[in-house]
Amino acid sequence: MAGVVELDRLKRLKDTVAVIGVGETDYREDYRAGARGNATEKGSGTLNSYQLAAKALKRALDDAGIDKSAIDGLVVGGPMSTERTCEVLGINASWCVSGDAPRGIIAAVQAINAGLCHTVALVYGNAQRSMDTAYGGPRVTDAGILSYVYYAPWGMTSQGGLYSMMFRRHQLQYGTTEEQLGAVAVAFRKHASMNPNAVMYGKPITIEDYMESRYISAPFHLFDYCLINDGGVAFIIQRADMAKDGKNLPINVSGIGWSELDVDSTQLRPRLKDFYKPAHHAVREQLYPMADVTQKDVDVYATYDSFSTHLLFSLEGFGFCGDGEGGAFIQDGRIEIGGEIPCNTSGGMLSESYMQSWNHQPELIRQLRHSYEGTERQVQGAQVGQYVHDVAGKCLSVIYTRGDR
């Protein structure tokens, strides 16, 4: 049952593993190359998911200063198969699972503590733009209007539509406005404008641009939607006592939490009635006590952001502001670098890269390492980072902290 965990057992896992290396592909360069090569023909397959994952892994290994032979565990994300990924990357692991980034991190914490492995590479590659992947519409169903996938018979299959419907409910219940929500897209785009690897580098938008942008599924505007681009991400997690002597300052995994709300989710009950907050509440009761921090200690925050509203709902659910106060809370630069709680400081999936939870992790690690010191991108003195994964009733979260040398 959600929220019931054995906290004393969970606390023993605090700071037992650390992130020692991160790597990403060239999101912006690949996006621009794809746009040039495929101006009239999207989907001609310029990039391959395995190629992207391998490039990211190479960079993560170089960053960590370790050899591939040190990897004895693997987490595989995106459209790649685990077996083929191990084969292509030339790794005979003693432990291997598939999943998104937070599932992978939580599984790796468990596996390392169980003694199954000690150094885990988490890799993701997704050539979704090259492959012309569809996330909604008739290509997802393709068997007539009555084929039952989501609400295809009534013309409703888009993930964006589902989140937009959730935002409308928030508007009706609390009076939240489109202009208030626009602060998310503007802030993330501002962060992307500081990040040369972001797809939307050098393309800031104003709240006026947001309000004038076309609706896709009203109340959602174009800028409430994430990008679709190719990319790969990798990071390496190691047992904390081994990580102490490594090349980089280790970044500890200090808190983990997981709670799901799947019952009645297809009829949208937990979405429209509760904004998934019971899951947020259960997770925050796990990971803040485990990490021995509170919301006030979180210096840099990242949320899964296939749509802008993920931030609005999770800030309320995790207690950064009260229920219904999210619209007002995200104003006045509060969620921007330099503000009270900088969010998605790389630009996130809205403006950096749609890596489906993966690109948020290297960004948090670099912020906590103070890798951007001396630039406007650095969150000054960042000690504690939080990632929130709140996706269609699956809520997972991770707290990272700066380790010792």
């Binding site: 068997a143 209007i145 409703m156 409910r169 009706l172 076309r214 896709i216 009203a218 959602f220």
Partner: protein
């Protein structure tokens, strides 16, 4: 198609709006499924649903996803009097209607067809319009 969804559409073809009710614990479930998610019983009956409810939320697609539904297309979440939330759309002539929170809605049947043949689909419209 899911065999349980097929049963729903077979009733719809006869203009009967029904949902599965668990024979053991009486829980109504939507969408159609193999077992009761409360007690796991595989036994169920298709019980008539009143077709009355109210608006919980809605969105307007400004982009066309399906040839059957050109933009603008409104999708609406109706909370049925019996409890389940039914996500659907309205007949075309109500596309311009201004919806509001908790607005009473009622079932209407519409005949249509796609490349696989004719079908009858349950839609909802504002009560008294």
């Amino acid at each position: 198609m899911d065999p349980f969804a097929t049963e729903f559409w077979d009733y719809a073809n006869q203009r009967e709006f029904r949902m599965q009710q668990c024979d053991e614990c009486q829980k109504l479930r939507w969408p159609a499924a193999a077992v009761c998610d409360h007690c796991l019983s595989p036994d169920y009956s298709w019980v008539p649903i009143s077709g009355k409810g109210h608006v919980l939320s809605w969105i307007v697609f400004h982009r066309q996803y399906f040839p059957e539904y050109p933009a603008l297309h409104t999708a609406v979440a109706v909370e049925l009097d019996e409890g389940p939330i039914f996500v659907c759309c309205m007949p075309k002539e109500f596309e311009e209607t201004e919806l509001a929170d908790a607005m009473p809605m009622e079932l209407v049947w519409e005949e249509s067809h796609d490349r696989h043949g004719d079908y009858v689909i349950p839609l909802f419209k504002p009560v008294g319009m």
